[in-house]
Symmetry: C2
Subunit: 213 residues, 2 copies
């Protein structure tokens, strides 16, 4: 099975490979991809194996082939839709990030408590008042939720999402959500990440721990 860590690396490889292809490269060796992404070349070869790609000792891997196989794993056949809740600075940043990036993964609706935002279009995504969350998620067949509201509202929003039929959540609120199992939750916790950097920066100063990637 394709594990969580592998999926993360595939997403990373894809960006690098897309770039290489755009520059006219046709093939790539495992050690090249490795040094650009900060993993080892064995790791790259293992990952290529996992997605059923095969290279040749003389040329390495065909970039187009890799991209095709990565897409087969990462992209849905039919488009997947996501809904964002919380159109503050963070929400807008997220919309900007994804705008038209992946044809098979689209943020189709955004919600906010502030009714003043209703019907505005931000980075190509239509805004709605909170109250329509349930109806629109169901009507538009949205399966992914993105939570970008303050901590105290997050649990509540998550429950509403699940009720509306959402199956996976990307949560930016710095609290663990408690939901019925069967819902995939990915947490991005900015506070935690900064504390982590602060910690390892100190260790660095003291004892010279190596950089990652």
């Amino acid at each position: 099975m394709t594990t969580e860590k592998t999926i993360e690396r595939l997403s990373l490889y894809r960006r690098l490979l897309t770039d290489l292809l755009a520059r006219g490269e046709q093939t790539v060796f495992s050690h090249e991809l490795a040094s650009k992404t900060g993993v080892t070349s064995s790791q790259v070869r293992r990952d290529m194996m996992a997605i059923g790609c095969t290279g040749s000792p003389s040329r390495g891997y065909f970039i187009a082939d890799l991209l095709e196989n990565i897409a087969k794993i990462l992209d849905a056949q039919t488009p997947q839709y996501a809904a964002l809740v919380g159109i503050g600075n963070l929400g807008r940043a997220i919309l900007a990030f994804f705008q038209g990036r992946r044809p098979k993964l689209i943020i189709r609706a955004a919600f906010d408590r502030d009714p003043g935002l209703a019907d505005r279009i931000i980075h190509g995504c239509r805004c709605h008042p909170d109250s329509q969350l349930d109806a629109i998620i169901q009507k538009e067949n949205i399966q992914i939720g993105i939570i970008a509201v303050p901590a105290r509202e997050a649990q509540n929003v998550a429950l509403k999402m699940v009720t509306a039929g959402i199956k996976g959540i990307l949560n930016f609120a710095p609290i663990p959500l408690s939901l019925t199992s069967g819902i995939y939750v990915e947490n991005i916790d900015l506070t935690m990440s900064l504390e982590k950097v602060a910690y390892f920066t100190r260790q660095n100063n003291v004892q010279g721990k190596e950089s990652d990637q």
Copy 2:
């Protein structure tokens, strides 16, 4: 030694524990903390062991004791300063998140290419033009950098940070930075995270993989 994963959980525990303490709780059992954070109770006990906390079978752990020991690990003795580069939506969201959250971890300066922002104060943090990056990082003894600029500028900003003396970086740009070793880099890659959620949401639908935390 205290590993990366442990540090992440400690940050999480701390938030939960702060909350519990504020509600008047004095003690907590490993399984309570476990269910609130989505880890197992063995894991909690292991982590408590790692930070030198000890509980009693009848009462569990003293919350105040845990918080003190967690702070001993996560917080610096003297304040640590961070600098943010890129005051767009993402940058502002980050500033809002951290404003006064941790007395020992302060975003002391923000930089942007847009000179129109110079000398404004956003969420308590003073903005500066790009050109002063080097001087201010050195003068203010800033050791942590936060990169919230578009992908194409990130590598360049990172190099400038390192030249100015920064030792750890929190990178939001969706490309791996290549830096001299000895600099700790933590990447937060929004595109990757959303692709990951999309992937596991699909798997969920197909075969019922369990939710994490």
